[in-house]
């Protein structure tokens, strides 16, 4: 019976199973931390197995959706809110990435936390559920609820299990994001009141009737909320603090999944609802992305702390994602979707590796190391492979993403496309500069001779558990680099249609999903639509 229910409510199951499971684990007493960790790992692993085995078998319906759960939920001030979850090409691999990364991270950080590790695991599992919910949600109010629900677990993970400055970092993370999303909420309610509902297609229709100036203002409100999440220069400064202070598992999921919600939100909601405004702001968006690429890389280069370096590298890498979106070409946007997955794998793996080093040496200062390769050859091998993926060496995933984005930008047809593509390609150079310079100072050279250096604390190389965590990531790095179609085929049709709609000459054509594909939408809300 349960399997039957899961088969018909797959998305609900994937969303709420971890939330409930996490709440359950939270009830375990502190002395049962080991049990909580074990149950957390097994639970998320089981969820991944269910998700992978069921999702990979789905075939798309005429609207392009792979799975839909849609029913009316409640009405607020005359506006109907739907419980509308949707799985399609755009979120397919982001969801699998989340399902894949969470158990891997729990395994990879098994011994990292000494205090209250059970509660951290519980929060972590709950976080997975909220992220999945946000990725599934198609109704904007529902999306908003999950979007905000992601904050508290992360807030506590940073604030309780973080490093020295954890309180500042946690507050900054929380308030930064809230500031963006409050502005967005106002815009959201404004559009919803005009559209008579929270579905993107209704909103898109309502927006076409608005004056262009209003559209632009509303788009900016949407875009800022998402840009903070990405994070896009100059709204990025919460990220280095949050990453540096968060425990390893938090950093991995923050980089691997949470940031993706920014790019995803832009593609899923901001661009389709405000196509004209989005095209209008393509140039400033691209400019900010290029600045982020170069700026993030230059600042990363000067960092003294390995983790902070990786954090700033995220600013640079995610800049490529927004640049790809702003190109409004199939090549560029597909590159952006792919780059989000790349960044999840590569930067997630980098944070895991930095965590493994920190667990042994209890320092992350570059100057405390030197000659690590001699002490930990296996660790060095994995770190080098992940570094190469991060700097976009061909045959790894990073190259394909950056190459597609740059080419997409170059052929975008915008006057700024060519120069910006050429300037953005500097990111490829600077990426190599900051990462390989760090590798040189940490791994190569004579061993750090200082009495209390980080290197001196390194006694054992990676153990079987840690190798087991890294191997799947390395396999993915090469798989994605050799055959990206596995990961981009799902989104190609969605992206192509999205761009065709945006660039269509008639403004009425701006519709995310053909309305007739959703009979439920009309039968259930027909009256409220007319009433408006």
């Amino acid at each position: 019976m349960l399997t039957n229910w899961i088969n018909t409510h797959l998305l609900t199951f994937l969303t709420f199973a971890p939330i409930l499971w996490g709440a359950l684990l939270l009830c375990l007493p502190e002395r049962q931390a080991y049990l909580a960790k074990l149950l957390g790992l097994l639970g998320t692993l089981g969820l991944a197995v269910v998700g992978f085995s069921l999702m990979l078998r789905l075939a798309p319906d005429p609207s392009g959706a792979l799975f839909l759960e849609h029913q009316p939920w409640f009405t607020v001030v005359g506006l109907p809110v739907d419980y509308h979850l949707r799985l399609d090409g755009l979120n397919f691999w982001l969801i699998l990435l989340t399902l894949f990364l969470v158990p891997l991270t729990l395994l990879g950080t098994w011994n990292s936390l000494k205090q209250r590790s059970g509660a951290a695991t519980a929060l972590f599992v709950m976080l997975e559920g909220t992220v999945l919910g946000a990725l599934f949600a198609q109704d904007l109010l529902l999306f908003y609820l999950f979007w905000e629900a992601m904050l508290p677990p992360m807030f506590f993970l940073i604030g309780i299990w973080g490093g020295q400055d954890r309180k500042y970092a946690a507050n900054k993370f929380m308030l930064y994001t809230l500031a963006g999303s409050l502005l967005w909420l106002v815009a959201l309610l404004y559009v919803a009141s005009h559209a008579g509902g929270f579905t993107p297609e209704l909103m898109g229709q309502a927006v076409t009737a608005m004056p262009f100036g209003t559209q632009c203002l509303l788009f900016v409100a949407f875009a800022v909320a998402f840009a903070i999440k990405v994070p896009l220069f100059p709204l990025h400064t919460w990220l280095p603090d949050a990453h540096t202070e968060a425990p390893t598992a938090g950093s991995v999921i923050l980089a691997g999944v949470l940031l993706k919600l920014g790019g995803y939100g832009l593609l899923r909601f901001a661009v389709p609802i405000f196509p004209q405004a989005a095209l209008h702001y393509a140039q400033p968006l691209a400019l900010l992305s290029v600045i982020a690429i170069i700026y993030g890389a230059l600042v990363a280069m000067m960092q003294l702390d390995i983790k902070k370096l990786v954090a700033y590298s995220s600013v640079s890498h995610m800049g490529f994602v927004v640049l790809g979106i702003a190109s409004f070409t199939v090549i560029g946007v597909q590159g952006a979707v792919f780059q989000m997955l790349n960044h999840g794998i590569s930067t997630g793996a980098l944070f895991l590796l930095v965590g493994m080093l920190y667990d042994r040496a209890h320092t992350r200062q570059i100057a405390d190391f030197g000659g690590v390769a001699k002490r930990m050859p296996i660790f060095t091998f994995f770190f080098l492979v992940v570094t190469l993926s991060s700097i976009g060496l061909p045959l790894t995933n990073g190259f394909v993403g950056e190459f597609l984005i740059l080419n997409g930008t170059y052929v975008s047809g915008f006057a700024w496309g060519r120069p910006m593509a050429v300037v953005a390609s500097l990111g490829i150079l600077f990426g190599a500069v900051y990462l390989l310079w760090m590798v040189k100072r940490v791994f190569w050279g004579p061993e750090n001779a200082a009495e209390d250096s980080g290197t001196a604390h390194l006694h054992d190389d990676l153990n079987a558990r840690e190798i087991a965590v890294m191997v799947p990531l390395v396999v993915l790095i090469f798989w994605m680099g050799l055959h990206h179609r596995t990961f981009t085929a799902h989104s190609e049709a969605t992206v192509t249609k999205l761009l065709a709609d945006i660039k269509a000459p008639s403004p009425r054509a701006v519709q995310v999903i053909p309305a007739d594909a959703h009979p439920a939408l009309h039968s259930d809300h027909g009256s409220s639509e007319e009433a408006h």
Binding site: K172, L175, Y176, P234, T237, W238, P240, Y295, L298, V299, M301, M302, Q303, T329, V330, I331, Q334, G335, G371, A373, K374, L388, L393, P394, L395, F399, V400, F403, L404, L406, N407, G408, Y410, V411, R418, A421, V422, S425, L426, I428, L429, A432, V433, L436, W437, K440, F443, W444, G445, P446, E447, L482, H483, H484, R485, T488, E492, T496
Partner: protein, 634 residues
């Protein structure tokens, strides 16, 4: 039936992974056999590919395995192309590669990282063959960046030292500057032609009329050339190559002399019909090449480290190759790649044999008189020296002469630069030979312990010596009664897809020019030899006579110091300021923390009214009531 040809690059990759994983456990003999055997097998397969290519229509065999990238209109197949150019290069890479692998067995035998070394070296062969055989520009770029990675790893092979990792990093980053050019060039070509597959690209280019203004094409080919200057160590991106000598000597021979550094020439030859359409780019290439040839040769005059002399010599010889390309002599440029691969690999391996015998002493000033002690090394290196100086009949003579002749047709100034460079080459090579092999030993301890290298090392020397002597006869220029067979052999590759046919033949005083340059080179060689045959005295006197010039040359024109001061330091300064000022003060301070602090402050100010004292509240109430009264009654 030809599908098995994918084994050519893949065998070295598989063995690289095997050696990396199991090499340490399997032991050195097994590792050596697997490593050398796999490259030999690639060589044999390349031979079979060669015969298949000869039988194929149009001398071209294109194999596609699967689609690597496909998004929208961008489609890049994973495939190999066998044509005269790629077959010849694949044979050079796997053939000379096998010899250097064999040599390495002897050279690295006592090294702890034997397995790691061969894992890297086989990985290099894989990437190099991918670069050579790849059927599309992105796949060529895979090899391009891959050999850069292997170069990084092998230069930094002695990773526990300070200098080797630094040199590796410098090589990788300098190459990446060039790679940006490659990426930009690929973007421009994709935007212009809508494809990045070599065959389609050249076919489409062949349909263009040469009279059209090609702004975008000139941009694209110039960008590609920037890529080539990185990989092939041309001005101004040559700076990494001399430092790259920090790696083991066989690596210098294989990667930094014979194969990888010629990738830039290969790239230009691959796209020859495109470059043919952009005369501006060709002119730039010719001048950069000639300038590099001359510039690097002057630095080679005063180096003390035997490998540094050869390194600058390589930079200089690569300059000649580009000079040939720029003079639209694509075949001539490639011909020099071919002959240079033989004699420069030989010279490096010979130098390695000397270094090996002298217990890792690389300073020429501490050598001397080794002729008797290392006879095989001496005689083979002598052949290499004759080849590089262009002694009539030896390989360098024919290839260099063809380049200089074409340069003369383009501009006599280019020819003159090339001739001066050739004279300097002859001088520094004979200086090297005299310092190492003639005169009295200057370090008696090392001299007494010196011994000839084992057969694994001398056998490759002998094979390479034969090649260095004879390789030139493949392309005897027409002026000397030959048919320049290289040109005819490569023609299907170099003119692929072109409708307009080859260019007409030019006439010039070929024999006279060759006689002048050869006579001058011989004279300078003799000068170099007799200056240093009896030790350092004459050289020191000369240095004392022109101290400033000597110091500048010895310090390589202070280019590294200048780059540090005017490029690297400002970039670091910028990064520091962006972080400490823009991020911390402007955005975080003024944008985030200041509003936060203001909110907190206003809360504090208002909170001061909440005193909890009844008389304060009573006062406020009274004042408020009075104010209201006043408003209502007014």
């Amino acid at each position: 039936m030809q599908t098995y040809l994918w084994l050519i690059p893949l065998l070295p990759l598989l063995t690289s992974a095997l050696i990396g994983l199991l090499g340490k456990r399997a032991g050195k003999p097994v590792t050596a056999v697997v490593a050398v055997g796999s490259v030999l097998a690639s060589f044999a397969l390349s031979l079979s590919a060669y015969s298949l290519m000869k039988a194929a229509p149009g001398f071209r065999l294109e194999l596609t395995y699967f689609e690597w990238m496909h998004v929208g209109s961008l489609s890049v197949p994973m495939g190999l192309v066998f044509d005269p150019l790629s077959c010849a290069m694949a044979l050079v890479v796997s053939g000379i590669g096998a010899l250097i692998h064999l040599y390495s067995v002897g050279y690295m035998w006592k090294d702890e990282g034997f397995a790691r070394y061969f894992a890297y070296l086989n990985l290099f062969v894989f990437f190099m063959l991918t670069l050579v055989l790849g059927s599309s520009l992105p796949l060529l770029f895979v090899g391009w960046e891959g050999v850069g990675l292997c170069s990084y790893l092998l230069i930094g092979y002695y990773f526990e030292t300070d200098y080797a990792p630094a040199a590796g990093l410098k090589a990788f980053l300098t190459n990446r500057i060039g790679d940006l050019g490659m990426v930009a060039g690929m973007m421009a070509l994709f935007a212009y032609f809508g494809t990045l597959t070599m065959g389609d690209l050249l076919t489409k280019a062949g349909h263009l009329s040469p009279e059209v203004g090609f702004g975008v094409l000139t941009f694209a080919t110039l960008m590609m050339f920037i890529g080539a200057t990185g990989k092939s160590a041309q001005l101004p991106l040559y700076v990494w190559l001399p430092d790259a000598m920090a790696g083991p000597t066989p690596v210098s021979a294989l990667i930094h002399a014979a194969t990888m550094v010629t990738a830039g020439i290969l790239l230009v030859c691959r796209l020859a019909p495109l470059f043919q359409l952009t005369p501006i780019t060709l002119t730039v290439i010719a001048w950069v090449g000639a300038a590099t040839a001359l510039f690097a040769a002057t630095i080679g005059l005063c180096q003390r480290d035997i490998k540094k002399v050869l390194a600058y010599s390589t930079v200089s010889q690569l300059g000649y190759m580009f000079l040939g390309l720029g003079a639209a002599g694509f075949a001539a440029g490639f011909f020099h790649v071919f002959t240079h691969a033989w004699f420069k690999a030989l010279l490096f391996l010979g130098a390695g044999s000397v270094i090996h015998a002298m217990h890792h002493e690389q300073d020429l000033f501490k050598m001397g008189g080794l002729r008797k002690k290392l006879p095989i090394t001496f005689w083979t290196m002598l052949i290499g020296t004759l080849a590089i100086m262009g002694f009539p009949g030896f390989s360098g003579f024919f290839s260099k002469d063809e380049i200089l002749y074409l340069a003369y047709l383009k501009s006599p100034v280019l020819w003159l630069m090339g001739v001066i460079g050739a004279c300097l080459t002859s001088f520094y090579m004979w200086r090297l030979m005299a310092l190492a092999f003639w005169g009295e030993p200057r370090d008696h301890h090392a001299y007494d312990h010196a011994h000839e290298s084992p057969l694994t090392m001398t056998l490759p020397l002998m094979v390479l010596a034969v090649g260095s002597a004879l390789a030139g006869w493949w392309g005897v220029p027409e002026a000397f009664g030959g048919h320049f067979n290289v040109g005819q052999f490569l023609a299907p590759s170099l003119t692929f897809g072109q409708l307009h046919g080859a260019h007409g033949h030019h006439e010039g005083p070929a024999i006279l020019l060759a006689a002048i340059s050869t006579a001058l080179a011989l004279g300078f060689g003799a000068w170099g030899f007799f200056s240093y045959r009896n030790g350092l005295a004459i050289g020191e006197a000369r240095a004392a006579k022109w101290p400033t010039l000597h110091r500048i040359l010895e310090n390589k024109y202070y280019v590294d110091e200048g780059m540090e001061r005017f490029i690297l330091a400002p970039i670091r300064w910028l990064g520091q300021k962006l972080w400490r000022v823009v991020d911390v003060i402007v955005i975080d301070g003024l944008g985030v923390n200041l509003p936060g602090a203001l909110a907190g402050l206003s809360g504090d100010v208002i909170a001061t009214t909440q005193t909890g004292r009844v008389r304060n509240y009573a006062l406020a109430m009274t004042l408020g009531a009075l104010a209201l009264l006043w408003i209502f009654l007014k």
